[in-house]
């Protein structure tokens, strides 16, 4: 019995000893390997950078004719580290080196490997390597069963660029159940002008969800190439598309779109009217002032708010129009004008002018009086209590009259 116990204890101790030894040896091996890699990096990195800054057509000569098996990981790390930090010619040379040394082929092999984290890493590396020939494999990786691989493949396609990369990403827009539309839209937006033609071509085949994303992306890219197409979308059969197209034209700042945007203020659907008003504000269209004043009477709050903002952005003529709307028969239009004039600091300016004289003072009193008649007095009462000039406070008190007492509780 005692012998069995001793044997058990010794066995356990031996197992622990062996495990400890394995851990120590493993750690020592990793330390040695990392130390060697650091030492090799110190030697190889200047050679790689010399190639990157120079004009030699091949990296092989810079590395003495090739890369030894022991240095492959080191050179790969150096190239990937630097390729993500630079743009321009140096970036292209480092990408070419990754291909020339066979790393792109290795990443392509790993992209179809059994371990998902290796596939994800390979996809990311292919993006960094900017290898156009990997676009097909990356497009196939968009169907990977693991979402992380799909996402990294999508990002990689965004970095690789070119028609072969754009099409699968545009198609991914149409699968909101598999993809975050926002992420794909960000990737396409970052790709810039090269996606414009593809998005416009693919548009008729996209589903409703993807169509809206496509119009948004074109607005965010700010490409003038998309302007005629976006203007034609203002007469699309789908109201949401018309609204997004108006928004995109405003974001790009297309002055030529003003007549169509003014017409869109009369669209049957309020989101289109709201976005048209917003766009007219962004392009500072003074000619739209009468239509924007009419839009202040719209039955939808969002349209009124955007129209008021647009009038403010139209400059002094827009501000004059807002002041004119203070006398409008429409209560909503009047209130919206009050809110915008207050928000833009125009009310405060007129209040300060109450201390003056002549025409300026007369105008100021007229504006303040219209605010009072519209029942928008909270800012005025605040100024009547806090304004730095006594004469202004007195004038405001006179115009406001005694405060209306709160109704007594029953």
């Amino acid at each position: 019995m005692q012998k069995a116990l001793v044997a058990t204890v010794l066995t356990i101790a031996l197992v622990f000893l062996l495990l400890t030894l394995l851990i120590v040896l493993g750690k020592a091996w990793r330390e040695l390997r990392d130390g060697r890699r650091r030492a090799r990096r110190r030697v190889l990195e200047p050679l790689v950078l010399k190639y990157a800054h120079g004009s030699s057509p091949s990296i092989l000569s810079a590395l003495g004719g090739g890369v030894g098996a022991g240095d492959r990981v080191v050179v790969e790390t150096i190239l990937l580290d630097h390729v993500s930090r630079v743009r321009g010619v140096e970036h292209e040379r480092l990408c070419r080196a990754l291909d020339e040394l066979g790393y792109v082929d290795r990443f392509l092999d790993a992209l179809s490997g059994p371990r998902w984290w290796r596939r994800a890493e390979a996809a990311e590396n292919l993006g960094l390597a900017g290898s156009k020939r990997s676009a097909k494999a990356l497009a196939e990786a968009l169907s990977d069963p693991v979402s992380e691989v799909r996402l990294r493949a999508a990002k990689a396609l965004g970095l690789v660029g070119g028609r072969a990369a754009v099409l699968p990403l545009v198609n991914a827009l149409a699968e909101p159940n598999r993809w975050s539309t926002i992420r794909i839209a960000d990737i396409l937006t970052n790709m810039g002008r090269e996606v414009v033609a593809e998005l416009m071509d693919a548009f008729p085949k996209l589903n409703a969800h993807a169509k809206l994303a496509a119009v948004d992306i074109l607005g965010r890219i700010h490409s003038l190439d998309a302007v005629p197409w976006l203007m034609s979308r203002l007469s699309d059969t789908e109201a949401d598309v018309r609204a997004r197209a108006a928004h995109a034209l405003g974001a790009i700042g297309v002055v030529d779109a003003a007549p169509q945007l003014r017409r869109a203020l009369n669209d049957a659907e309020w989101p289109v009217r709201a976005m048209a008003a917003k766009a007219l504000g962004r392009i500072h269209d003074a000619e739209a002032i009468p239509e924007l004043c009419a839009a202040l009477r719209d039955r939808e709050w969002w349209v009124r708010a955007n129209a008021a903002e647009a009038l403010k952005l139209a400059g002094p003529m827009g501000i004059d129009a807002l002041e004119g709307m203070l006398a409008d028969a429409d209560l909503y239009a009047k209130h919206q004008a009050c809110l915008m004039l207050e928000d833009a600091g125009i009310l405060d300016r007129h209040v300060a002018q109450l201390a003056g004289s002549g025409a300026v003072r007369t105008t100021a009193e007229a504006v303040v009086t219209r605010f009072i008649q519209a029942g928008q007095v909270s800012r005025l009462r605040e100024l009547a209590a806090t304004h730095s000039e006594l004469s202004v406070r007195s004038e405001l008190d006179r115009l406001l009259g005694p405060p209306v007492p709160a109704p007594e509780a029953p």
């Binding site: 990195e45 200047p46 950078l49 010399k50 990157a52 800054h53 120079g54 580290d81 630097h82 993500s84 930090r85 630079v86 743009r87 321009g88 010619v89 140096e90 970036h91």
Partner: protein
């Protein structure tokens, strides 16, 4: 050929630092390095470089602090400073210029464009 112009590179990311150093040395400049804002200030006042290339996000003192300290130090206040940063927001860039930066380059950067900007700052007449 005259004496090589001296450039101080203040950058905490070792990979970027090595890239920038290699790029500038390749063009014949004498390059000093600092791994954080504190070292950058010391090196700037001791070595009196002809140009300072500084990151914004660095340990101990960030690039804005370094810039302010340089502009308030009579010994180095006229030294041109080029900010090399990942921060690409308008407000960061504007703040950089407001604090006294002479140029601003966003990472990832175009190496040849960066070298042109360095040349311009070192010899504005030639650019």
């Amino acid at each position: 050929m005259g004496v090589a112009k001296r450039i101080l590179v203040a950058e905490d990311d070792p990979v970027t630092r090595r890239f920038v150093v290699s790029l500038l040395e390749e063009r014949g400049y004498e390059v000093l390095v600092a791994e954080n804002g504190e070292h950058a200030l010391e090196a700037a006042t001791l070595a009196r470089p002809d140009l300072i290339v500084s990151d914004l996000v660095m340990p101990y003192r960030d690039g804005y602090e370094v810039l302010r300290a340089i502009r308030n130090d009579d010994r180095v206040k006229h030294t041109p400073v080029l900010i090399l940063s990942m921060r690409d927001h308008e407000e960061d860039i504007v703040r950089g210029f407001e604090q006294g930066a002479d140029d601003y380059v966003v990472k990832p950067f175009n190496a040849r464009e960066f070298v042109s900007r360095v040349r311009k700052l070192l010899d504005p007449r030639r650019a």
